[in-house]
Symmetry: none
Subunit: 201 residues, 4 copies
Amino acid sequence: MPKTVRNPQQERSIDKKNRIITAGYELFSENGYYNTNTVQIAKRAGVSTGIVYGYFRDKKDILREVTSLYMAKVTKPILQLFDELCAPFDVRGFVAEIVELVIAAHRENAGIHEALHALTHTDSEISAQFISLEDELTLNIAGRLSRLNVIKKDAKEKVHFAMDMLQSFAHEYIYDHHDYIDYDRMKKLVTDSIIALIDVD
Amino acid sequence: MPKTVRNPQQERSIDKKNRIITAGYELFSENGYYNTNTVQIAKRAGVSTGIVYGYFRDKKDILREVTSLYMAKVTKPILQLFDELCAPFDVRGFVAEIVELVIAAHRENAGIHEALHALTHTDSEISAQFISLEDELTLNIAGRLSRLNVIKKDAKEKVHFAMDMLQSFAHEYIYDHHDYIDYDRMKKLVTDSIIALIDVD
Amino acid sequence: MPKTVRNPQQERSIDKKNRIITAGYELFSENGYYNTNTVQIAKRAGVSTGIVYGYFRDKKDILREVTSLYMAKVTKPILQLFDELCAPFDVRGFVAEIVELVIAAHRENAGIHEALHALTHTDSEISAQFISLEDELTLNIAGRLSRLNVIKKDAKEKVHFAMDMLQSFAHEYIYDHHDYIDYDRMKKLVTDSIIALIDVD
Amino acid sequence: MPKTVRNPQQERSIDKKNRIITAGYELFSENGYYNTNTVQIAKRAGVSTGIVYGYFRDKKDILREVTSLYMAKVTKPILQLFDELCAPFDVRGFVAEIVELVIAAHRENAGIHEALHALTHTDSEISAQFISLEDELTLNIAGRLSRLNVIKKDAKEKVHFAMDMLQSFAHEYIYDHHDYIDYDRMKKLVTDSIIALIDVD
DNA sequence: AATGAATGAGACTTCATTCAT
DNA sequence: CATGAATGAAGTCTCATTCAT
């Protein structure tokens, strides 16, 4: 008797599944994956413990969906920004906007990034999901910027590296406030570095 | 009745404590903190389960020491490089050296960085250890470079950001190999960005 | 994340909780608190180890409930006897009845009194429970006897001391049978002493 | 290879053994038998963990000796008082003296009585030791008082019961102070009850 | 489809006892 | 004789998962 997981079609069921994912999202974000148990998830989602296993194969399966949700939340606003983009455009202004966007995304998706990233190393599936997100973003953005002729050379490498910078900085900005750092000045350095990176031929 | 932990003085005991730390280092690195149990650590260290608690208050205490070990491993070679540094010096060559060093450190200290960083978000003690490592490195390096007049302005912000870049890149380089990225080209971009960052006034 | 303990409402659950308490009662009684482990309790109760922690915070929590159960078992029949009491009444007959009652209670509640009393010295919570039981009994009985004008002076001191005598004797009677003691004669001495105590002005 | 336990002849060894017993006495008294471990005992005695097993077969063996020590401490002063006793004598004064003596013994031997008595129920060996102590005291005292013609009938029963009363009261007096009890009045009741008991024919 | 009580393997930790030095 | 580090069995408690209702 192969174990089956419901694939909810009905509205009420979909809602229930989503509530579980959201609960997982919040709890993993707050306490990390290993410090969250299924009873907590069920309680937060307002469902019974048992039904969780109606929608998800196991705890890891919730993690997978939480990861997808996270991906969507982070990717969407950035791609949207690019959608509205058309040449000629103000590079500095645009980069500044992106910086703010990434910071905001980081702030909103608080702990989950850490919680998920943490698992990246021991869990190949999550790792793959993360990598494929990066791939999609990198290639998508690199393609757009190439087409717009904003970046002429090494677009993928530049975009990827720029994304890394942004992520590092956003993390720094949100979580690891060091007293001796002037974050506004640092933000300017980041923006400048990215602009310089784009302009390098 | 305060629980006491042996503070080993004899060589053999120190060795045993170190073997436990090393075992923890390796296992946390391979499987993460939560997927490693004390029996595994003891077995890998070649000691009994019981004696682990002769040297460490609890499992978390092993983690603390593992973190310290990691800190030392990462910090030392970098500070050493700076120790050998004297003006006038070849900025490009030096940065290139640093890049290689950080990549090497990342390679050698494989999973542990992830495993530890993962806990940063749920464990304030580990977080504090990490932050204090960054503080030390940043301030130390920023101080040196200021004194050598290599960086004239915003030294701390620049150094901190440069370190973030390096870390992101090293991580990328070691773990997340994307097929479509030419990592040598990317390495050059990183080096250039750091140099540019230093030169900005 | 406050740990929650089920507060069973359903009959079956209440029964299960009671079975655990009873199992604890028996095992603590037979082997003492420290020589009883949670696996034994679960087995005796016919439940799994895990569910024990669904009903009780920890092993100590079982002890608390066992103590309460013991209290009830010991207190109830004595208070009941007093409930049926009305003046004028035959002091000698009544005291004799009480003596038999306390012996019976001791016999039935076998080892548990010892097991619990044992903890009294190292566990302030159990100690408090015991003391409050004594308080209740002493004050209740002293009040009744004062009101009935059976005892005119120092009612609380007399009642308390009489209870001590009874307990000592019952313990002696049940457990520490010495060959050279004629326990029927001793029982008469106890009865007489209590009667004398009451009559002292 | 039958396990042997040293039977120390040399002074230094005897001293060491005694220090272990004393340490056990104190620690069992403070924390109970089960909350005391051998490392603590060794530390308090100022010896190594290992050597404890040179003098004692196991932890229980320490308990045995501690029990003996307790016996001696409690028995001696009482028997001594009787040794000094000769007719004709002042019953009331003598009983009052005994009461004070037992209270003092209880105070000094604080927790150990409880700690040991606790084990009485699960440990037949300790139980036997306790009973034989009582036997010795009861028979000894009953014999003396009979010979002195102080008690004419049921001497053993009376003495035993009197000892129970004293013990209960002393325990009460030292440990379970209830606010609503006037202990001086209660002490008088105890003394009177014992005197009455002796005088009953 | 839903509930939530129940299961039991396994995690962390303690400690009586042994043994190499 | 003495040391105290070492052993490993056993205890308490947690939690992913199942199952009777």
